[in-house]
Assembly symmetry: C2
Amino acid sequence: MNPTDTTQIAILLYDRFTALDVVGPYEMLCRLPGAETVFVAERPGPVANDRGDLVLVADKAFGQVPAPGIVLVPGGPGQTAQMRNTALLDWLRAADAASTWTTSVCTGSLLLGAAGLLKGRRATSHWLALDALAAYGAEPTGERVVMDGKFVTAAGVSAGIDMGLTLVGRIAGDEHAQAVQLAVEYDPRPPYDAGAPWKAPAAVVENLRAGSRFLQG
Amino acid sequence: MNPTDTTQIAILLYDRFTALDVVGPYEMLCRLPGAETVFVAERPGPVANDRGDLVLVADKAFGQVPAPGIVLVPGGPGQTAQMRNTALLDWLRAADAASTWTTSVCTGSLLLGAAGLLKGRRATSHWLALDALAAYGAEPTGERVVMDGKFVTAAGVSAGIDMGLTLVGRIAGDEHAQAVQLAVEYDPRPPYDAGAPWKAPAAVVENLRAGSRFLQG
């Protein structure tokens, strides 16, 4: 990549998105040389997250971002309602037709699927939503970050950080990505080892499958 | 903790904060039972991050949040200017006098230091800022998350996730924290192992010490 090039990174917002799905990869991708990020929604203005207490501001409406270089689709409880939003799905198809990379975090991949973009593609999602991908012709895989051609999908919420850093490396090279990792001191040390369903205590997994109002991502 | 209790979590915003410093711990702490988060700034309204392209909305002014249970102070390039903001430092002192836990991410610990809150305390910060803590009477330590009494400080940017999850465990117990970890699928797999200065290639470390306009967190 020529360091004088500008890459427009379009980050989708919609009512009840999950904040870390957006900000995790944002904090990596915004450090690409020439990155220009734009938050895009059906209408510009404030957009509330899945708890209604965190508000990000969308800069542009769909029609104002016709040809981004990178598309980022977050997940969140609001994804379900957006599966029937033709304005959003139409924009995803148009943006993807122009993009070099189309990416998602968590249940954002279901929106890519609903837009018809993941047919025959390997893809991932939140562990609780993974099986739903198959209905859209995708091949679900439990990997944390899945690259299939131009499509890069991440598992639940925090996996967007690994996705973003992986994509930075693919675009700008390993040394640049390592510099990004060091700049944000991404040397994770979770105090527990319960971040995947095969690692967490069985009772914790079952409680989440049953649904807990405090915890759903 | 009685699950019917409400804990107000006050998250400080200021011009040129780093977004992941805020949203990483937010996504953990908001899942505490009874959590009520409030974004607080000198004035309510939109606050732009360190790149000027991500805008979070502050709900309340300092005077409207006099006694939070948990205080979270993010870092970011804007921290330098805030070191002389008496309104902010006064609020930090008042909020800390009321709080059960006072926390920071990245260079947010320097704001706690400037408010006089870290005297004689072990604390951490971004690896590039760690030495500056000593000027405020703190004992700098390179650990990723440092708990000293009610003060919980995290290293650079992404370390706020580990800090938030650690604090969730301390407040609500290991099983609840494991459920939070699984809900956000926090099973990190960085594609490189360059997230600390003693792990990254020497050239990468030196470039960051010299300052790179793309990368500074």
